[in-house]
């Protein structure tokens, strides 16, 4: 008898497995991350406990974790929306930049000394700027099949350099001693923050958006259309749905949400636009969305976990003298294992001895009517 391995598709993925797989993926990632940390010359246990203590150990750490989770959750919702339609918006980073630039422009040119009015202006400007940035790629994709991965990625660099132009050039604060940054925003253009921490009002949007889009995707007609179009555009056309219109709309919304995330980060946290302001939230959001399996509520949870990793990573850098990019390695490992875990969701691996056939009945064989 010979040992043989067979891979067969799962008919259904149980709920238990649906939770076990990401947990197992995360554990595998941390385990292989431990190997990596070991070779970097630090104790993995110590490193992981430092991460946990610095991010969850006290009120300050916890608040910092939430501060990181806010833009992540919003940007992850943005990319989740397009991913659901199988449109690969890799451009959240650029859309965040556009939203931030629009915010800074609004503060500079349309300033009104009233919190509520200014919030509405900044919100609208950031949404439109990010949205247009996304919709351009969406239109190119839907109309002429231009690969949106490339366009959105390239538009990131355009947005980044546009931002650099403004902060190095016309918008630079004369009082900044030559640093590439705008003048600090006046108070009316700042989001309130709470509990004496850096947690700002963007938190409410970060909590609200996942809920809204969970309802939209799960319970509305439009959400159903988006999911059908993502899974099978041909069937969608056959059912009378318009692909072009919806791709543009989804990419607009996706970009708008990312843009608003940029606005919150800017007016809630940093208070002035500066070079390198986002720190890669738009890219990390892709990992978050996948790890959450594109589930809006799970995105909240995963953003928080990712916040732990970011805050912990900064501490590691200081305490253990690890380069910040070692955190990127950990993030990369997580994404790698999560994508790998997808395989086990759809397939099962059976090991059996050849000569003892024991095939699982498939539906078609059971049918027999």
């Amino acid at each position: 008898m010979k040992l043989s391995v067979k891979i067969e598709p799962r008919l259904e993925t149980s709920r238990k497995l649906g939770i076990a797989i990401p947990v197992f993926s995360l554990a595998s990632a941390l385990l292989s991350g431990a190997v990596f940390l070991f070779f970097m010359g630090v104790s993995p246990l110590q490193a992981y406990s430092t991460i946990l203590r610095s991010s969850l150990g006290d009120a300050y750490g916890l608040s910092e974790t939430i501060v990181k989770a806010i833009p992540l959750a919003m940007a992850a919702i943005a990319v989740m929306l397009s991913f659901t339609m199988l449109i690969w918006n890799i451009g959240a980073e650029g859309q965040i930049f556009m939203g931030a630039m629009a915010t800074a422009a609004a503060v500079r040119y349309l300033f009104v000394d009233n919190h509520a009015v200014m919030f509405l202006i900044m919100f609208t400007a950031a949404g439109i700027a990010g949205g247009v940035w996304g919709a351009v790629a969406g239109y190119l994709r839907a109309r002429w099949s231009v690969n949106e991965i490339i366009t959105t990625l390239m538009l990131n660099y355009v947005a980044m350099n546009l931002l650099n132009y403004f902060v190095y050039g016309p918008w630079r604060d004369p009082a900044s001693l030559g640093f590439p940054m705008t003048a600090p925003f006046p108070d009316a253009a700042r989001l309130p923050s709470f509990w004496n921490t850096r947690i700002h009002a963007g938190l409410f949007l970060a909590l609200l958006l996942p809920l809204v889009f969970w309802i939209v995707l799960r319970f509305t007609r439009w959400g159903y259309e988006i999911r059908v179009m993502g899974e099978n555009p041909k069937a969608a056309g056959f059912a009378g749905m318009s692909y072009l219109k919806n791709v543009v709309l989804v990419m607009f919304l996706s970009g708008a949400i990312a843009g608003i995330a940029g606005m919150c980060e800017l007016s809630g946290l940093q208070g002035r636009l500066q070079h390198g302001f986002s720190g890669g939230y738009g890219y990390t959001a892709i990992i978050v969305a996948w790890l959450a399996r594109l589930h809006p509520i799970a995105i909240l949870l995963v953003s928080f976990l990712m916040g732990i990793l970011l805050v912990g990573g900064e501490t590691l850098q200081i305490v253990m003298r690890l380069p910040l990019s070692s955190m990127l390695v950990l993030q990369g490992l997580i994404l790698f294992f999560v994508l790998g875990g997808e395989f086990f969701r759809k397939f099962r691996i059976r090991i059996f001895f050849r000569g003892v056939p024991n095939p699982q009945p498939t539906i078609s064989e059971k049918e027999g009517n």
Binding site: P9, L11, E12, F219, T220, R221, W222, G223, Y224, E225, R227, V228, E231, N232, K234, A235, G237, F238, A239, G240, T362, I363, S364, E365, K366, E367, N369
Partner: protein, 522 residues
């Protein structure tokens, strides 16, 4: 080139059997190829021609039977093994890489390539082979720049480059213009004159008569026979291919047709490649009537149906449904006016494989009450609707949450049928509705279509199964190259040979008279 005797076949396949879940694709089929001959493999779609040749090419393993190359039994586990044994195959869809050049494609998958590609010697070899066989093509052109005919030449060259001694061409002319086809035939004749064996898969009688030395006919996976082309006729081949009429009986009530529901006047449409696919098609379908559309695949049936559901632009002509002009309306309008479509491509077009049974059940009604209320979907309603579909159409599924990709072909079709037929449609377009289904599911589908006819729907039935068309249709239209060759009002009484001739392009009057006189058609 070795010495060969014309009696010793290059390849012999004996008693080949291949089953897929629920379908027997080949049953005890014998087939051989002699040096210097064109051996045509004839049969309708689904007769098992491609399966047999894919087995020869190492893509499938037979469940039983043996393959002998020059007398020695072989076992291929991949096309690479087949190529080593001198067997090459050109599929309908060429396995070429569009972004690469002709010469780069030529060495695709070759083993033992040097690290630096000897471009000049590759090009020289291409030019010498293409000169020898009249397969003119620019070695430096990129594949995407070439026409379909030129791409086919590249695919053939690829096989000759690998020194294939036997070349299998899977419906090579279905994508070619007549001139390109003539060119291909010249190449094939050149190859056979040098002792190569060519297998020519086709369902076009004229070409088979013109090109082949022997013909093997398959029907429903079984061998009907192998005959010398010189000693047979087109009519005889058509008969062997189609088989006896009325193998099965279904209960079909006599109902007088009512008012015309679908009226098409001289509609024209183009294929995806911009070539005329439907040419001035004029016909109508009435209440309580099934209009069958016969024809060899790729003669415009698919495009015709797409115009009737708003998925393809009508360039001229008009479509009226129950007196209302719907020419070039949106797909949604067609759905709302009661046109329901059962496409041939179940998983690709009709259903969303990764979504579950209940989500798929509402694809054509998700915007209507009670499933949808003010923009929101009521999943309770959806589940109860799905449950009623599943029980009424006896779809076998573990649950309403099962992704439909896990359902068998028969159950997919039942689910789709249930969805399309559940609100008494005016017009039903059914394209190959029983394709790939087992006997029970086939019967079920046919009964459902007949039930709709009884209730007053007009049914347009596109099929390649002539038995099915003859048993189901009240009228039968035959399509050839986008044109309707004629509409037969008593198809069951028409000789099969005449229908076969019409499918091959003979106008109705001529086809009917030539057979009724009992004479040979020249």
């Amino acid at each position: 080139m070795g010495v060969y005797t014309s009696t010793e076949p290059l390849v012999r396949m004996e008693q080949i059997t291949k089953r897929f879940t629920g379908v027997t694709a080949n049953l005890d089929v014998d087939f051989d190829i002699r040096p210097g001959e064109v051996h045509a493999l004839l049969g309708e779609n689904g007769a098992g021609k491609s399966t047999l040749m894919n087995i020869l090419y190492g893509l499938y393993r037979p469940d039983s039977g043996t393959i002998l190359v020059s007398g020695d039994p072989v076992s291929f586990s991949s096309p690479r093994d087949a190529i080593h044994a001198g067997i090459g195959m050109v599929h309908q869809h060429f396995m070429l890489i569009p972004s690469q050049t002709v010469w780069e494609n030529m060495i695709l998958g070759l083993e033992k390539l040097p690290a630096v590609l000897p471009k000049r010697s590759i090009r020289d070899r291409i030019l010498s082979i293409s000169g020898q066989y009249g397969l003119m093509v620019d070695p430096d052109a990129h594949i995407w720049q070439l026409s379909i005919g030129e791409q086919q030449r590249v695919a053939i060259l690829q096989m000759l480059y690998r020194q294939a001694n036997i070349l299998v061409l899977d419906e090579p002319t279905s994508v070619l213009t007549p001139q390109e086809a003539e060119h291909l035939f010249t190449t094939v004749r050149q190859m056979t004159s040098e002792g190569h064996g060519v297998v020519f898969i086709s369902h076009k009688m004229d070409e088979v008569m013109d090109l082949s030395h022997r013909v093997t006919i398959l029907r429903k996976g079984r061998l009907v026979g192998t005959v010398e082309t010189a000693s047979t006729t087109k009519e005889r081949l058509a008969e062997m291919m189609i088989g006896q009429k009325m193998i099965f009986q279904i209960e079909k009530k006599n109902i007088a047709p009512g008012r015309p529901l679908l009226e098409c006047a001289a509609i024209c449409a183009s294929s995806d490649r911009g070539i005329p696919a439907v040419v001035r098609a004029t016909f109508s379908v009435r209440e309580h009537e099934i209009l069958g559309i016969a024809g060899v695949a790729g003669n415009g049936q698919q495009e015709l149906c797409e115009t009737l559901v708003g998925l393809r632009e009508v360039e001229s002509g008009s479509i009226h449904l129950d007196g209302e002009n719907l020419t070039n309306s949106s797909p949604k309008t067609f759905i709302e006016k009661g046109v329901h479509y059962i496409p041939a491509d179940r998983k690709g077009t009709g259903l969303v494989p990764n979504m579950n049974v209940s989500e798929n059940s509402i694809l054509k009604r998700y915007w209507n009450r009670p499933v949808s209320k003010s923009g929101f979907i009521d999943w309770k309603e959806v589940f109860s609707f799905a449950r009623s579909l599943v029980s009424r159409y006896s779809v076998s599924t573990p649950s309403m949450e099962t992704p439909v990709r896990n359902l068998s072909g028969g159950n997919l079709q039942k689910l789709m049928l249930g969805r399309e037929l559940s609100d008494s449609p005016k017009l039903i377009l059914a394209v190959h509705p029983t394709w790939g289904l087992d006997v029970a599911a086939t019967k079920f589908v046919r009964e459902q279509l007949l039930a709709q006819r009884e209730q007053g729907s007009a049914v347009l039935l596109v099929s390649e199964d002539l038995d099915e068309l003859l048993a189901m249709s009240d009228n039968l239209a035959v399509m050839f190259k986008g044109e309707i060759m004629g509409v037969l009002d008593s198809p069951a009484d028409t000789p099969v040979e005449s229908i076969g001739l019409m499918m091959a392009g003979t106008p109705a009057e001529e086809a009917l008279s030539s057979i009724s006189e009992g004479g040979e058609k020249s």
